[in-house]
């Protein structure tokens, strides 16, 4: 520096990782959560906007989506919060063996969810080309599928990384904790989507 300096405190003792809002990646993840959440919120607004034009919803006497696949999906994804919370706590405690046991379980649950999601697409009882209702229902389901697919893939990559010696790194534990946080967001966001696809057309 060109001007003379006056030394004050020394920060060498500060940690290089912390959980929660002290972590920089926490802010990145929250940022993306807000972006995605708001995007979904706008799709919800479009849904209600289009619904407001219709005398009946679905319009023209079409059948609403079948409940089975969507409800199964909802139950499974809510149940997945149990291992998810376990992993999150393990990350905070530094319990690497627990993480290594449970993450493949999450990956497997994700695969089952995708299979159910396939059935959901099949049981919407409408094509995306059939009225704006069909388009917005498909849009909701497709966007959420992309959402869960990207998070599942993140989980796969993280699970592989946690099998290496780097799993013991504080920052990797923070990554795991944040990945669990994001999974919570994925199913929390699913709940209103579930209602909009399956229940609002039944009102």
């Amino acid at each position: 520096m060109i001007r003379p300096v006056r030394f004050t405190e020394d920060v060498a003792a500060l940690p290089t990782h912390k959980f929660g809002p002290s972590s920089l990646t926490w802010w990145g993840i929250i940022g993306f959560m807000v972006i995605e959440g708001f995007a979904f919120g706008l799709v919800f607004a479009a849904y209600f906007f289009l619904m407001g034009h219709e005398a009946s919803w679905p319009p023209g006497g079409r059948a609403p989506p079948n409940l089975l696949a969507g409800t199964l999906f909802t139950i499974l994804i809510l149940l997945s919060e149990i291992p998810n919370t376990r992993i999150k706590l393990a990350a905070r405690e530094g319990d690497v063996p627990a993480i290594r046991r449970l993450m493949p379980l999450m990956v497997g649950i994700g695969l089952v969810l995708f299979v159910i999601r396939g059935f959901e697409f099949n049981s919407l009882n409408i094509l995306w080309t059939d009225t704006a209702y069909g388009s917005v229902i498909w849009a909701l389901l497709l966007l959420h599928t992309t959402h869960i697919l990207t998070d599942w893939y993140d989980t796969v990559v993280l699970a592989m990384l946690m099998r290496t010696p780097l799993a013991y790194e504080g920052r990797r534990l923070v990554d795991t904790d944040e990945n669990c946080l994001y999974w919570r967001y994925v199913w929390l966001l699913w709940l209103p989507i579930y209602l909009l696809i399956y229940w609002v057309p039944r009102l």
Binding site: E9, A12, P21, G31, E36, L42, F49, T131, S135
Partner: protein, 653 residues
């Protein structure tokens, strides 16, 4: 293979940790500088340049690229003005003209205005906040490449005669599958996707940097007003860009796979497009304007030799403008037949937003009153801004009224209004800001005489070009017409506008000439040529790659004015690996030491993969599935550490 023994490894790491070299009273000055440079410099050569994560390099790229797009968009404007100089001309036919105004608007709004503001922020914020890097530097690099590729796609299509011709806000059903066959509209919509992802990524970078990476002691209440402006803008981007991304995706989907979001015959609604677009579109103009108010605050402070009057009022004005901006969008839709009662709310909101801006203006003027203004080139641009922008703001108040807007909507009065607020309100402060920070960025001063001439040319040329447009609109000239008939009284305003436009064009050329000449032959700049107060002026011009040898500590809003002799600093950061300091959100107490990523080609490769995905999805929906695979691989490789060995302290490679 021996199984991994965490405890033995911990002992090794603890030993190595003790050997780490950190900055401090024993390691300072030139010796410190050499070691920091070794750690922070990127590899030389083309690959190193493509792999940079240095915010200063990325910021400069943003600015240069945005200025090139400004020139391209401006050239289109000059062609349009030639066509409109006289009635019933045929220099440019209808179809080509429609492409010209679409490209002009889209280039200026998406490829110049927002990126240039982002670019200046990306360059400046870490320096102003007293840190060594932005948060997420690789994401920062990625966001530049996405912007570049979106711009290249749009302009490539235009040059190949498949450019969009639907206007920069692409109303349906004109932009839909039935009335815009071919790929022109898809190119426009996908350009949106590129630039929106770029802007959102940059916004996340800025929020994280501003909230978590400030110098110790720089509480939110001591943060420079420019940083406040960029914080508000970044949050606004996060809430507004999803709307346009969603709208453009719905449009591509309607066009490509037959959805019916905007198809009135299948229960869709054309107003859905307008609501979604303008929900983004109105905040967008404040996203462009608020950074300029940040520039004005900084320049007024430096050139009036005192901090801006009533800092808390300015901060509250920034925040309330940011919030109010989201409640105005329906004022773009006053002619669509929605209930008048609803419209009244938007009239009231549109007028209310003038209040915080009016208060900011008072604060700047009060600062001039209380200080000793020096009329150097940046300050001239601020004066030009006030004289010009306020006209635009007042014409905005006029069109906030529904009965007035119903005559003036979609006429040249509106064209006049938005150019007054965008050029007066954003471009003038930008030119002042570029002149102001040019010494910091390049190490040389811009030429003063050329600067003054350039200011007067653009200021006067602008008035000549755009003031007559108010009259053209009142005399009955609608927007987006490639010609107009004689006898309506439109000849004189259009001719004057054309002359003025060329004067503006010449002054932009002059600015660029000044910048280029000064870059090579300008007077070398000291670290603080203007005698300013903020931290970026504490380092050399241009700054070293690591910004600060020691992270500074801040004890007031104007650190360099209040600690003129010695700069207080903290010690203890790593010297041989890239590291920066994170502090708490409000009080900026030292919190964490954060490793800063090494240069990497993965952001570029990911941007290429994502770009290929977006461009090919214009042609087939399957491209989304197939193209996702290379994108996923690139993003995984970006995240995956280069070495699976633990370091004593984290290294992001």
């Amino acid at each position: 293979m021996t199984p991994y023994d965490p405890r033995a490894d911990e002992q090794r790491l603890a030993r190595e940790r003790k050997k780490i070299v950190r900055d401090g009273p024993d390691l300072t000055g030139a010796r410190l500088a050499t070691r920091l440079e070794r750690a922070w410099n990127r590899p030389p050569g083309l690959l190193g340049w493509l792999a940079t994560v240095d915010h200063k390099e990325i910021g400069r790229r943003y600015i240069v690229t945005a200025l090139i797009f400004l020139a391209l968009g401006g050239a289109l404007a000059l062609v349009m003005r030639l066509q409109l100089a006289r009635p019933d001309q045929d220099l440019v036919g209808a179809a080509r003209f429609n492409e010209l105004f679409t490209m002009h608007g889209s280039t200026m709004m998406f490829l110049f205005a927002v990126p240039v503001m982002e670019g200046v922020a990306v360059y400046l914020i870490p320096l102003m906040l007293g840190t060594r890097s932005t948060a997420f530097p690789r994401l920062n690099a990625f966001s530049y490449y996405m912007y570049l590729f979106g711009g290249l796609m749009l302009w490539g299509a235009f040059v190949l005669n498949v450019g969009p011709d639907i206007g920069w806000f692409a109303y349906t059903p004109l932009s839909g599958p039935q009335f815009s066959p071919g790929k022109r509209a898809d190119v426009w919509a996908q350009m949106i996707t590129f630039t929106e992802i770029s802007a959102l990524a940059a916004a996340v970078v800025l929020v994280a940097t501003i909230l978590k990476c400030r110098a110790p002691g720089m509480t939110l209440a001591r943060m420079p007003l420019y940083a406040w402006a960029m914080l508000v803008v970044a949050v606004m981007i996060i809430f507004s860009m999803p709307a346009v991304a969603l709208a453009s995706s719905m449009l591509i989907s309607d066009r490509l796979v037959g959805t019916n979001f905007f198809n009135a015959w299948e229960h869709g609604d054309n107003l859905l497009w307008q609501h979604l677009f303008w929900f983004f579109g109105h905040p967008e103009v404040y996203i462009i304007f608020l950074p300029a108010t940040g520039f004005v605050s900084v320049i007024v402070e430096t050139f009036c030799r005192r901090p801006v009057f009533a800092y808390p009022v300015v901060v509250l004005a920034l925040i309330s403008t940011g919030i109010l901006a989201f409640g105005l969008w329906v004022h773009h839709m006053f002619a669509t037949g929605l209930p008048r009662v609803g419209y009244s709310f938007y009239t009231a909101a549109s007028m209310t937003v003038a209040i915080p801006t009016g208060l900011q203006i008072f604060c700047w003027l009060a600062t001039m009153w209380d200080g000793r203004p020096r009329l150097q080139v940046p300050m001239l641009y601020v004066i030009g801004f006030i004289v010009t922008f306020v006209i635009g703001g007042l014409s905005g108040v006029i069109i906030a009224s529904v009965p007035l807007d119903l005559e003036l909507h979609d006429t040249y009065f509106i064209v006049a209004h938005f150019h007054y607020v965008l050029i007066g309100g954003a471009v003038f402060p930008l030119l002042g800001a570029l002149t102001y920070w040019f010494p910091k960025i390049t190490g040389r001063m811009m030429d003063d005489t050329l600067g003054k001439i350039g200011f007067w040319m653009i200021f006067l040329g602008f008035q000549l070009a755009f003031f007559p447009m108010h009259f053209a609109g009142l005399l009955g000239m609608p927007r987006r017409v490639y010609t107009y008939p004689a006898g309506l009284g439109l000849e004189l305003p259009n001719l004057l506008s054309t002359i003025g436009a060329f004067v503006v064009g010449a002054s932009v050329v002059l600015f660029v000439v000044n910048a280029l000449w000064s870059y090579f032959r300008g007077v070398p700049a000291p670290d603080n040529p203007w005698g300013a107060s903020s931290l970026e002026w504490a380092v050399s011009s241009p700054p070293p790659v690591y910004n600060f040898q020691h992270i500074p500590v801040v004890e007031s809003r104007t650190p360099l004015w209040d600690e003129p002799d010695e700069l207080p600093v903290v010690t203890g950061l790593r010297v041989d690996e890239k590291e920066m300091l994170m502090t708490t959100v409000v009080a900026a107490a030292p919190d964490l030491r954060e490793p800063v990523p090494l240069p990497s080609l993965w952001p570029l490769i990911s941007a290429i993969a994502t770009g290929v995905l977006f461009i090919s999805s214009i042609f087939s929906p399957w491209a989304v599935a197939v193209g996702a695979i290379p994108a996923a691989i690139a993003l995984t490789a970006w995240f995956w550490p280069k070495e699976l060995k633990r370091h004593p302290e984290p290294v992001l490679s």
